[in-house]
């Protein structure tokens, strides 16, 4: 290349080299953050001995044992008893018998997973619904002490929620909400609703009042105008808010450990308790974690366009 200057490059566009550097850094960061996920995914396909071998095995023969152990409970039997059984019924049976065990029944993973779904979707729906109505009220009506109320709502986020774990534990026990899906839904809603109000208020503030006023003159009540005119335009904000609420409720661990133990237990506290013979059943843990990631990834991918627009919304006026 000659040193002759040209005006072919743009002053505001980044140069090719800085783009390359930025790309490299992004990829580097992505790789670093993907390593634990890749590790979990790989562990799910290892056999128990492979999963704890040292040095760790990067190349290994994939096995279904982790997934089989995740979904089943097993009992040890004598070799004679196993030999007396008929042909193994499917892959899992075969893997289990190789360890001199037989499948005794289904594990608690599926019910725990279902609890997670119910609690996460339930609390997200509640938090976003409450949030959108309160945000609309704060945005449109003259509310006495509105600023103080908004600050009060936000102040619930000023400490880690777990700081109030003990009072909540005692309160839940007294109210009979311990180890119930309703209790967990209410708890996660309470944590998320402040985020939802603040995020959604920003979105609703951006929607000109004229739309509702026009709809009200056209013959709608305020509530109808809210549903037909405001909600469609706030869809982006609602989707972004829902993702944030969903991620929190889906991943929450500390309260779930504290307040659920049996029928309402969610997947996060359940997964680390999967014990095999002689310690943790790491392949089953890996398998359980991998499956646990799927719903939130699907949910985020489905709404990702809204998420991106949601975060940058209002930054630039069109």
């Amino acid at each position: 290349m000659s040193g002759a200057s040209t005006t072919a490059h743009s002053v505001v566009e980044p140069s090719a080299n800085s783009k390359r550097l930025a790309g490299f850094l992004v990829i580097l960061y992505a790789v670093v953050s993907m390593v634990p996920l890749a590790w979990i995914f790989a562990t799910g396909w290892k056999t128990p001995p492979d999963s704890i071998s040292y040095p760790p095995k990067v190349v290994f023969n994939p096995s279904l044992e982790g997934y089989c152990n995740l979904f089943t409970t097993r009992t040890r039997q004598t070799a004679e008893y196993i030999a007396a059984l008929g042909a193994p019924n499917g892959e899992c049976d075969e893997v289990t018998r190789r360890r001199e065990m037989v499948i005794a029944g289904a594990s608690n993973y599926l019910p725990r997973f279902a609890n997670s779904l119910i609690i996460a979707f339930g609390s997200t729906f509640l938090a976003v619904s409450l949030g959108v109505f309160s945000a609309y009220a704060f945005s449109r009506f003259k509310i006495p002490l509105a600023d103080d109320l908004l600050f009060f709502i936000l102040s619930t986020r000023m400490m880690p929620p777990i700081a109030v774990a003990i009072p909540i534990y005692l309160m839940y026990r007294a109210l009979g909400l311990s180890d119930s899906a309703l209790g967990m839904i209410l708890l996660y809603t309470a944590v998320n609703v402040s985020l939802a109000v603040w995020l959604l208020k920003g979105f609703i503030d951006e929607i000109p009042r004229e739309y509702e006023e026009a709809a009200m003159i056209d013959g709608y009540t305020r509530l109808q105008a809210f549903f037909k005119v405001v909600l469609p335009q706030a869809a982006t904000g609602i989707a972004a808010t829902a993702i944030f609420c969903m991620i929190f409720a889906w991943n929450e661990y500390a309260f779930a450990v504290l307040l659920t133990s049996g029928q309402a237990q969610t997947a996060p506290p359940f997964i680390p308790t999967i014990i095999g013979e002689g310690g943790m059943d790491w392949p089953a843990v890996g398998a359980g974690t991998t499956l646990f990631l799927i719903p939130i990834v699907v949910f985020t991918v489905l709404l990702r366009k809204h998420l991106l627009r949601g975060i940058t919304f209002g930054a630039v006026r069109k």
Binding site: E210, E213, A214, M216, I217, D218, G219, Y220, T221, Q233
Partner: protein
């Protein structure tokens, strides 16, 4: 279509009185303009007529019915917003037909009326487009379409041309007035642009500080302003004010400004010696070297057929609108002759007009 009557309308927001005891009547089929600077209460008044704000006291009658506290939806009015408020998630046809859908009209009827509105506004070709890609003029027409499709008792418009660029605003002014002439719909139109108001209105109410300062035809308001505020707000350039001190007896038709005696409409009341203001429109000043009212030319703006000449006098700076072929040099001393029939007289304190022969009807145009 209907008459709108506003009686003693008052609206306070906390301690702030946005509208103070307004009274006016918009006759059936009239194009009525609420004119005033921003913050004068004109939009609040319009929103109370629409039902988007509730008055603190007073009454609003629409076609004889008291609608003061009725919901907006029950008033049978159409509102055109400054920002048009076209629903971005609907196409043009759905936007125009939205109110009919709300009222439960049949699909075929909605289609017929939307097509009709599209024909009147000449926007048939964009009916099936999305509103987001439209030019501001087309958005304006769609907003109007949404109003006319309802065939309401009256149209309320809140600075509907405010978002357009000036060239286009002029065109839409003509279109709006043309539309009004065809539909003969009672219209209340809010603007801060006196040219828009003058060119379109049958009647104007000039508002200031929550009060209706003057209510009348554009001609009345231009020729016989009841206050210095109105005189100054209307006209481009606005009315000139010559300040002087004097007392006037009833029947006097002459004011003494320094050495000059100025003929003016006869005063109908006794005026105690005080600060007074003589008001004269720029087009009612002509150059006359014989006149004892003198000043020095400050500068001239050439406007094609006319020019606006600024003259410094001992009573204040005045602007005269003259034929542009008259040569004036900056610094030249000139005599000014004021048209005696067209002079306004105001109290220097408070700016109210003094009752003179000017207010005795009769000289429009």
């Amino acid at each position: 279509m209907a008459e709108i009557r506003v009686e003693n309308l008052h609206k306070s927001f906390g301690d702030f009185a946005a509208v103070k005891n307004s009274n006016f009547t918009v006759a059936d089929g009239e194009f009525f303009v609420l004119l005033g600077p921003s913050g004068c209460g004109k939009t609040t008044t319009l929103r109370m007529i629409a039902g988007l704000e509730l008055p603190t006291s007073g009454r609003i009658l629409l076609g004889g019915d008291d609608v003061t506290f009725k919901r907006a939806a029950e008033r049978d009015i159409a509102f055109v917003f400054q920002l048009f408020a076209l629903y971005p998630h609907m196409n043009v046809r759905d936007n125009i037909g939205f109110s009919l859908k709300c009222q439960g009209f049949k699909k075929a009827e909605i289609r017929r009326r939307v097509d009709e509105a599209g024909r009147i506004l000449r926007i048939e070709h964009i009916l099936d487009k999305s509103v987001s890609g439209l030019s501001s003029g087309d958005r304006q027409r769609v907003a109007l379409g949404r109003a006319i499709v309802r065939e309401p008792m009256c149209f309320l418009m809140d600075e509907p041309l405010g978002a357009l660029d000036s060239e286009f605003r002029h065109l839409m002014c003509g279109e709006l007035r043309g539309l009004h002439n065809r539909l003969k719909a009672t219209t209340v139109y809010v603007t801060h642009d006196q040219l828009e108001a003058m060119s379109m209105a049958d009647k104007i109410a000039v508002m200031s500080g929550g009060l209706v300062e003057q209510f009348g035809t554009p001609q009345e308001i231009y020729q016989r302003p009841v206050s210095m505020f109105v005189a100054d707000f209307i006209g481009s350039p606005p009315m000139n004010f010559l300040r002087f001190q004097s007392g006037l007896a009833r029947g006097t038709a002459e004011a003494r400004l320094g050495d000059a005696f100025i003929q003016m409409p006869a005063v109908h009341e006794d005026v105690a010696p005080s600060n007074l203001v003589l008001g004269v429109r720029p087009e009612h000043i002509r150059f006359d070297d014989a006149s004892p009212l003198r000043g020095a030319v400050y500068g001239a703006e050439y406007l094609g057929t006319t020019q606006v000449v600024t003259i410094d006098t001992e009573f204040g700076q005045v602007k005269a609108r003259t034929n542009s072929h008259i040569q004036v040099a900056p610094g030249a001393h000139v005599g000014l002759r004021l048209n005696p029939d067209r002079l306004s007289l105001f109290h220097g304190e408070g700016g109210r007009a003094i009752n003179t022969a000017l207010f005795e009807g009769g000289f429009h145009g």
